[in-house]
Amino acid sequence: MDTRGILIAGVGGQGIILASDILCRAIMTAGLDVKKSEVHGMAQRGGCVTSHVRYGKKVYSPIARKNDVDVLVSFEKMETLRYLDFIKPEGTIIINTEELYPPAVNLGDAAYPEDAIESVRQMFGTVKVVDAPTLAAQAGNFRAVNTVLLGALSSCLSLPLAIWEAALRKAFSPKLLEANLKAFHLGRAV
């Protein structure tokens, strides 16, 4: 099996690192080699955050090449457009409909691209649009946007459901688990 790549992108504070931790644990439990990479620290304060995940029989680089990622999970609508070069032409894109304005947009100095989803649809065949904030609220925790999107990703990968659920159990305290399991399944059903 060749090395496969998943790229999770979004904005600091959206729970991207936790989502990719859960994903990697699930892949590891399935018996595959896995590496992931992201940048912490200053970048986390509301800036762009990406997490590269690569898995297969033997993985060397934890970061993907251009045109080599199988699935992009974009936690923020506009951020999707920043990482399109990483995706294989036949790759899958999952887009959260949430809009988080960067400072220049807040100040009225730049426009937020309104046509992100349409333009991605023109470039890629498999585009899954997820209203994660609504589904997270429906699951009982508005912060569970990351788990909803993880659920949406899970339906694109061939890992058994039991492995996902075990990874979620390990990641969340009993108090938060129920809402997150629900969020995961709502995302998976999209």
Partner: protein, 598 residues
């Protein structure tokens, strides 16, 4: 048992498995999690020192008493610790001492991109460099063994990609710990007066020769001979990038980057046709390979700056741009990091930005206040520099600088290296005002304890130094305490202090908004009343992430405008899900348009 660990967690695990029970460090991205992970193991002693120099001296003391000690810092921290570092290389240690330097190619979270392999050569200290988490765990053990065997401190160098990537690690049962600590008197070895140091200087050179021999047979310096057409000498993360794109080339992977195994390099070079040296940042290995008279290609094709990735390596070696599909061509608004909603720094920088003073800044979250719209910081060099620079600037400007020079420093940074320059300011007396942004934690690196928080790294209660008293004890007579969320008072106090002759300190105290221990009941989020908002944009000057501008089309016959005779162009909007109700915008709104969400 297998576990998914970051490079940092793996370093901590490896140290624990091989019996190290002592560590000191100062937080700094990308090194911080090493100490945090190590501190959680049973039976260890781990401390945050006020700065890296102190941390290294603590480690040296422990190692002289026979302990296996680990000292942890980011690359620029080694600059702070350089003074003891260069001389502990002479004395050697009694137990074992490993210094972790976590470098940051691409400056993800740093003020420079220095290549700390140069310190290994400069201070004559061996250095190991892992390429993933499994190696990180193994290499720290090897580093302790080399330290003990050669009576030398040893460097373990990581980079951001190694420290902050996660990969699968096989855990082992920790070795039983033997207590080998004892007082060890050996003045000729440990008292570095010139007569003793001259003798130790000779020992250092002897040790380097023995280490050079050791490097030849060191199993982590390993040759992988495949296709002999192309051979690549590399180490650390770039090895993975190259293996990813050129699985079949030949490799000399160096686990030890100082001293280099000269014989092995010659042997490898003789077995391949075209030789590359693949290394991020400086041509550290390349220059030494060329000095051997071996022809090699390095910086002629690989960049000097920034971290690499598989694409950069591929392009440099094949010399051709691949036919890649590019789709991200359209310009997007940038998304730089920003101060959090409710951040206590926002108030102080809003006020400072309006004073038209030069603000000499420092290292911390608050450095982000240099950006639009706050534009409240005008320089940032290194930890603690704000105070000395403000003093120097004030002295140089003389009367012209009166009331116009401010230094800003965080609480943790002040305790790291702001105390001595403040003492200097009191001693040599300048007119600058120093603002200590006291958010009661080390926020930037993820909320670490420091000597004023009242807790230690391992969660024990500790003394918490009283900052106003400390500042007074240094000789600063005018010391004021303000709440930076009270914009009016903060502004008035700063103006008063800037008008006074002589140095003064304003402590702006409010807990970091992410800080759990001091968290009060959450405030209600705020909203903008679209009827009352005149579109004056004053609240937008705070640069608060939930506040955005929404262009509105003036309805026919609408006469209410932001300014007389001008139709309003739009209104401010607050995203209630992200607003934490700090109320700064409400203080600024003259029209009473900002109120609590009902």
């Amino acid at each position: 048992m297998k576990e998914l660990l970051s490079g940092n967690e793996a370093i901590a695990r490896g140290a624990y498995e091989c019996g190290a029970r002592f560590a000191a460090g100062y937080p700094g991205t990308p090194s911080t999690e090493i100490m945090e992970a190590f501190a959680t193991y049973a039976g260890v002693y781990a401390e945050w020192a006020p700065n890296e120099k102190v941390a290294l001296e603590v480690g040296i003391g422990a190692a002289l008493a026979g302990a296996k000690a680990m000292v942890v810092m980011k690359h620029v921290g080694v600059n702070v610790a350089a003074d003891p570092l260069f001389t502990v290389s002479y004395t050697g240690i009694s137990g074992a001492l490993v210094v972790i330097s976590a470098d940051d190619p691409s400056l993800h979270s740093s003020q420079n991109e220095q290549d700390n392999r140069n310190y290994a050569k400069f201070a004559k200290i061996p250095m190991l460099e892992p390429s993933d988490s499994q190696e990180a765990k193994e290499f720290i053990k090897l580093a302790f063994a080399i330290s003990k065997r050669f009576d030398t401190p040893v460097f373990l160098r990581s980079t951001t990609r190694v420290s902050h990537s996660k990969s699968v690690v096989t855990l082992e049962t920790p070795q039983p710990v033997e207590d080998r600590t004892a007082l060890c008197f050996d003045a000729e070895k440990y008292v570095m007066v010139p007569s003793n140091a001259r003798k130790r200087r000779v020992e250092v050179e002897k040790r380097m020769r023995r280490l050079e021999e050791f490097a030849e047979g060191f199993p982590e310096n390993r040759m992988e001979i495949n296709d002999p057409e192309i051979g690549i000498i590399t180490s650390g993360m770039p090895y993975n990038y190259a293996k990813d794109v050129f699985r079949n080339y030949s490799y000399l992977k160096l686990g030890m980057v100082h001293p280099l195994p000269v014989g092995l390099i010659r042997k490898f070079a003789s077995r391949v046709k075209k030789l590359y040296v693949l290394e991020e940042l400086d041509p550290f290995i390349e220059e030494q390979v060329r000095a051997l008279g071996i022809e090699a290609t390095g910086k002629a094709v690989f960049p000097y700056t920034n971290e690499f990735n598989p694409d950069i390596v591929h392009r440099a070696i094949t010399g051709c741009r691949e036919d890649l599909r590019t789709l991200s061509a359209r310009p997007l608004p940038p998304r730089p990091p920003n101060l959090c909603p409710g951040c206590p720094h926002r108030g102080i920088f809003y006020v400072l930005g309006r004073l038209k003073a030069f603000v000499s800044g420092d290292i911390g979250c608050y450095t982000l206040a240099y950006m639009k719209p706050l534009e409240g910081i005008h320089s940032c060099i290194c930890m603690g520099a704000s105070v000395g620079m403000a003093h120097g600037m004030s002295k140089a400007l003389g009367k012209k600088g009166k009331g116009k020079v401010v230094g800003v420093i965080g609480d943790s940074t002040f305790l790291h290296s702001g105390i001595t320059p403040l003492l200097n300011m009191a001693y040599n007396r300048s007119d600058a005002v120093i603002v200590i942004c006291d958010n009661l934690t080390t926020a930037m690196t993820g909320l670490q304890e420091h000597p004023a928080t009242g807790f230690t790294l391992q969660g024990e209660k500790a003394m918490g130094v009283d900052l106003p008293e400390l500042v007074r004890a240094l000789g600063i007579e005018s010391v004021r305490l303000v709440d930076p969320h009270d914009l009016k008072t903060t502004g008035a106090v700063l103006k008063e202090e800037l008008a006074k002759p002589g140095p003064s300190v304003v402590i702006a105290r409010r807990a970091c908004v992410l800080f759990k221990r001091e968290k009060s009941a959450p405030e209600k989020p705020l909203r903008v009343d679209p009827e009352k908002c005149t579109g004056c944009r004053v609240c937008l000057r705070l640069g608060c992430p939930p506040i955005s501008w929404k262009t509105t089309v003036a309805a026919a016959g609408e006469d209410r405008g932001g300014k007389k005779g001008k139709k309003r162009q739009g209104i401010a909007v607050i995203d209630r899900n992200r607003c934490n109700g700090c109320g700064l915008c409400r203080q600024l709104c003259k029209f009473g348009a900002i109120t609590e969400v009902k």
